[in-house]
Amino acid sequence: MIKEFINYISDPIRSFPIMAILFFLQMKFYRTFGTKKFYALLMLIGIPLVFLAATDPNFLLILTWPDNVPISLLILSLGFFTWLSFHKAAVNDARIEAGEPPVEGTPEMREKVWCWPNLVYTELFMMIAATVFLIAWAIIFKAPLEEPANPTWAPNPAKAPWYFLGLQEMLVYFDPWMAGVVLPGIIVVGLLAIPYLDTNPKGNGYYTIKERPMAISLFLFGFLVLWIFLIIIGVFMRGPNWTFYGPFEFWDFHKVQAAFNINLSEFFWVKGLNMPMPRSIFLREIVGIVLTFAYLSLPGFLFSKMKRGKEMLERIGNIRYYFLVFLVLSMGTLPIKMVLRWLFSLKYIIAMPEFEFNL
């Protein structure tokens, strides 16, 4: 019963909004989230739950799959370090409100130490420990070798390395040109551009959330919800034929999933206006083209007329402002396309397979 419920809500259609809401709650109540008590409670409840869940044979199979073991460890450490940064930010924000300097700014923390031996010793020990860990691991878990590559056959499911599974999940909703080239390019350029876009000197050298809530929320939403969460979905919950399987569901090769998709142009001309698709490609896709231009131009313009947007535009200038708006809008395309796919089975907003151009 409970297992079926968990299977039901972990489908990305339901778990993605849940994760987004949890993320915003976490940002809003970061002071509660950042207490040691909260983390202890989370671990006290979470760890027994995972062991309890592992009594299920299907879940145990996914969890102990040699490829997946390090990913579980990474998720645990990611959870810890996310909490740690929130904890430090919560402590600092309380201090700043009380008129004290942040912990990193106190005289005892500003004291300098020698690189040798203090840092190099630690590094040496960590190096040895990591090597021992890797050797032990290589002995215990065998590398999952598969058969020789064959250009006319693909494993099922065919999964990318774990760090690309967020990208592979993205590709379900996009044309390969968009999700494989354009969006990763924007991500890399956008991350490189952060130091040039961000003129806020607050938070340099110390943890804080209160002094820069927008920057931290935007980044962490993209990282935790749109990247890490999609990796988790891709690693643990995508089975044969890239169909979704709940954590307690058997990977049945013949699970049927209705995934009939149609393009916006077909919605508009055939279903909406009840007429055949126009011959001209551009006329056929005119709705999608207009919507895309509106999406790229209107939000930035409208926000600049609002009070907060006006302040921001004045503070950081035109180029920075519109570049930032463009980056945020590009990030927004992923949740938008996911929701449209789930709600309306929409495939592409602009579909021009004749030119290999699909949005």
Binding site: A154, H254, V256, Q257, A259, Y348
Partner: protein
Amino acid sequence: MNTLAIKGGKVMSEETKTNINRREFFSYLTVGWVAFTAAVAGLLGLTFRFTFPNVNFEPEMDFLAGNPADYEEGVDERWKVKYGVWIIKLEGRLAALSNICTHLGCIPNWLAGERKFKCPCHGSGFYQNGINFEGPAPRPLERFKITMTPEGTIKVDKTKIYRYEKGQWDNPESYLEV
């Protein structure tokens, strides 16, 4: 600089070696840059040569696929592993369907129970005639040129591709009437 620079048949003194004049400096610079450019060009040439392998294990681009009578109505998988082609027989027409997904080039599987091709990478689905209907694939599977030899066997030529969205499936070379 331990090597002795020799100029005009005379061994130069230690002093002139350490203070090279302007003209010599530029000639060294030129030699250096020419050598560097030549080395880079040579490396690039080798890299370019490397992209053309000496031995090519790719399957043949055309093959004989037996008699039309060998095929039942529906999808035939016998050439999939060797040549990457499904022979489909629908409504009295034979066609050679590519087994490369039009989304990102994975190899879909034929699910006989569901009567569809399903890609294992991102879940694109195609009807048995190759038309895409689910998942992210933007266009139908491609078809290859299929002709009849004078002996009555089917010949599939993978170098010639017919795409549905360009209206090429009506081309008489993209199917065989049987």
